[in-house]
Symmetry: C2
Subunit: 190 residues, 2 copies
């Protein structure tokens, strides 16, 4: 029973955060949307930020699941990195909550939102780092610092998928995969 109510609150809060962002959703509103008194929320969550964090935690879990699903062990390492990262970044563009959050970070810089986006990036980086470590162990790629490598890979990927679009025509998915392979895997030397 109290389990139901917590779920209700989480769903209402998710909906509201997705629709209005973090700052613009009030606890009163969440209470109304979940048919609960405002005080009740505070029996399940210490404060607004913890409620937010719990929502983000499940968002991250969802993203991880989506990435895992995109991976196919019969394909090459680089192709799987591509598929995983593409799924994650696609997720970011398709889900209300992430869209709203990135928007809020850019145009308001809400501290709680910035922190949460940091967590999200850390999660991606960690995910990637594990994949890189595994690839080194298996002898699929050259020996290197997995953390730094994951960091560079993500930067290159974001550069190709988002940053390039700021001043140029967007690149197609296939092209991005090709470029990623060329720059990161094969290298430019002959």
């Amino acid at each position: 029973m109290s389990f139901d109510r917590k779920q209700q609150i989480l769903e209402a809060a998710t909906k509201s955060f997705s629709l209005f962002g973090y700052k613009a959703t009030t606890m009163e509103q969440v209470a109304k949307l979940s048919n609960v008194g405002k005080g009740t929320i505070y029996t399940f969550f210490k404060n607004k930020e913890e409620l937010f964090d719990e929502i983000i935690r499940s968002l991250i879990a969802e993203m991880k699941a989506a990435a895992d699903e995109a991976i196919d062990p019969s394909l090459s390492f680089y192709e799987n990195v591509h598929r995983g990262l593409y799924k994650i970044l696609e997720f970011r563009l398709k889900h209300q909550l992430t869209i709203k959050l990135f928007q809020e970070e850019k145009e308001m810089g809400t501290p709680a939102v910035m922190e949460v986006i940091g967590q999200l990036e850390d999660a991606i980086l960690n995910y990637l780092k594990d994949k890189v470590s595994l690839a080194i162990e298996k002898g699929v790629i050259r020996e290197c610092d997995p953390e730094l490598t994951a960091f560079v890979m993500l930067k290159v990927y974001i550069a190709l998928i988002f940053d390039w679009e700021q001043h140029h025509e967007p690149l197609e998915k296939e092209k991005i995969a090709m470029l990623f392979e060329q720059y990161i895997m094969k290298g430019l030397s002959l």
Copy 2:
């Protein structure tokens, strides 16, 4: 004679922009510093922004010169890219004017400053692009889109030199050169 005065104004303005930033330097102040009536400035420059632009143009020229100086034709392509980019980014950290400008962009977002920083980045990108084109012609590196390649190179470089420092120990210059070679030139595949 009028040449002298224009120079005086440019020097005074450069000093003031370096010291106080774009927004906080007033035309009155530039006039005082250059021993000239305020109106006189407007006989040489259409407005504050054009005065600023002219200063930035010479800043860019200086950076280009510094980069050229760092380049040694007897060294490899990647090593020269490293030396050139390092010089440019070092320049950015050592010169009052650029320091102040990047600070002003970050914490105030002054439009004129943002635009000028865009110009600066374009100049770097173009400089790099030319080097890449040349390297392709000479057959030193694999065939590729020079603009996109310059873009990715710069992203990786900035990632290694600035972004990594946000959450980790800074990398040494030598290490950066090595990593740059590993990631961009040699690639990760075996």
